[in-house]
């Protein structure tokens, strides 16, 4: 805006104000109604949804695949667009920094003196596009299968082996599901697609030993799961190594299978489960 435009605006604004009304009592009534609506909404949400807690934090036995608050879904979806691991770090800092800078500097690069949304086509379109994209990305984030479950049936070979092999496979499946892997890896329909690579067919690439090594000594940002202990890591590696592109998946769940064959080992120790929404 140049000097003339500034003065023009201020003059126009002075007239608008002269033709307006005092804040008290005319405008404050609207604000008061809004205050009551806001507090009422918060109270209603609290009554309906409460302040429930999940189980107590536990760093050792089983872990938990967290999801961010729903209003961060879009940001996480956006990060997932970035695939190569060496770019993920750059993106986690870069994308928010750029977004914040673009926002802060808005009044300085948008120098159009026009204020009417219909007469600022570029700004209005960009605004609507960004809001639309945020809704769309949030929808994608909400649609993804819960990262704390893995809905896969055992491969044919494992199912035919039955018995202890099948139990070990299923315990591995549950452990992986509960160990927050889904926070970073997509496994079948579940889990977040990134920042880690999908594990749906990890058996093609890595053998059980290599997977065990990864779990104990991972590349950052993946955390080490050495705390879980050799036995549990072994089961997880066994399960993951069985996930191959050519393995025919049987569609019965392990529960159904073990019931049919009357398998005696099915009653043995199952991994400690922590239920969560």
């Amino acid at each position: 805006m140049n000097q003339r435009e500034k003065e023009e605006y201020l003059r126009e604004y002075a007239v608008l104000k002269a033709q307006g009304k005092p804040f008290f009592p005319y405008i404050i009534v609207k604000d008061g109604v809004m205050m009551i609506v806001v507090i009422g909404t918060i109270m209603l949400l609290s009554l309906l949804l409460g302040g429930e807690l999940t189980a107590k934090a536990d760093a050792t036995t089983t872990t938990y695949a967290p999801r961010p608050e729903w209003y961060y879904f879009w940001a996480f979806e956006l990060l997932r667009v970035v695939k190569p691991p060496y770019l993920v770090g750059l993106a986690t800092v870069g994308i928010p920094t750029i977004a914040i800078l673009l926002l802060i500097l808005l009044p300085f690069y948008d120098r159009n003196p026009e204020r009417h949304p219909l007469r600022r086509p570029v700004a209005t379109t960009a605004g609507i596009f960004i809001i639309g994209a945020m809704f769309f990305l949030s929808y994608l984030g909400a649609e993804a299968g819960a990262p704390s479950q893995i809905e896969l049936g055992p491969p044919k070979a494992i199912r035919d082996a039955g018995g202890a092999t099948l139990t070990k496979w299923d315990q591995g499946r549950k452990l992986v599901a509960q160990s927050s892997c889904g926070g970073c890896h997509k496994i079948g329909e579940n889990g977040n697609d990134g920042p880690g690579p999908p594990l749906t067919e990890i058996g093609d690439r890595l053998k059980a030993g290599a997977i065990r090594e990864t779990l104990i000594n991972p590349t950052k940002p993946m955390p080490s799961f050495a705390d879980l202990g050799a036995d549990q890591i072994d089961k997880m590696a066994f399960f993951l190594a069985s996930l191959k592109s050519d393995a025919e998946e049987s569609h019965e769940t392990v529960e159904e299978l073990t019931k049919e064959s009357g398998d005696s080992s099915s009653g043995t120790e199952t991994p400690k489960t922590e239920s969560q929404p």
Partner: protein
Amino acid sequence: MAKLKLLPSLPSGLKPATRPEDLAVKKQGPLGAVKDGGIHAVDWVDERTSLSGTMRWVMFRPIPKGTNWFYTLGTATMVAFINQVITGVVLGMYYEPSATRAYESMKYINNEVFLGEFVHGMHRWGSTVMVVLIFLHMARTFFFGAYKYPRELNWVIGVVLLVLTLLMSVTGYLLPFDQRAYWASVVAMNIAGNAPLVGPFTPDLALGGPDVTTLTLSRFYLIHMMIIPGALIALIGAHLYLVIKLGTTAPPWVRADKVSPGLKEHEE
């Protein structure tokens, strides 16, 4: 309105103490005496602060014609923030920021404290409401072009308020120290720790070590209930000062010169 008794133009302490009118008021019985006492108290404060001028500046400032419901979104955000402050203070009376006690103290609030879960819920969902409202308020000022001259600085302060509000919701997430809180923080820190340059220092700074421990909790608690709220309160003050000083915009389709028939109702 400007003739309200509560806001006399001249502090009465500067007037002769016993005027005939004052005595007449005093004779009105107990109710009159109370009213009189109130006025005296207000006068006493005003004589020493000149607050009445500020009050008049805030309350009787002219609002341009055409102002509509979209202009209440800023106030709505502020109310949600005040709700967070009040419910947060109540929670703070019982909460203990230690890895061993945090979860138990939250359970205690939920199950034992009178209306505890209600207050906890209001804090929990109030944060969501505040985030939604702040985005709506920002969208309003964006589409109305309210960030343009002379209100650029208010937009800049607004963006900082937005960032601080989002940081509040991140630091608050860990405090109950349940599974969701713990593992969300672990993953968040793993991601942040992988960032270039600042990455390697983030866990040390935010967590107080490589793992999420009591040190982490007390740091997050300090950030969540002192540092960021302090900054928020100061910046909201500056934001509102500028709102009052510069005045709020009129909707961009409202014009002062040619009054279109559709606007007649605002004129009245």
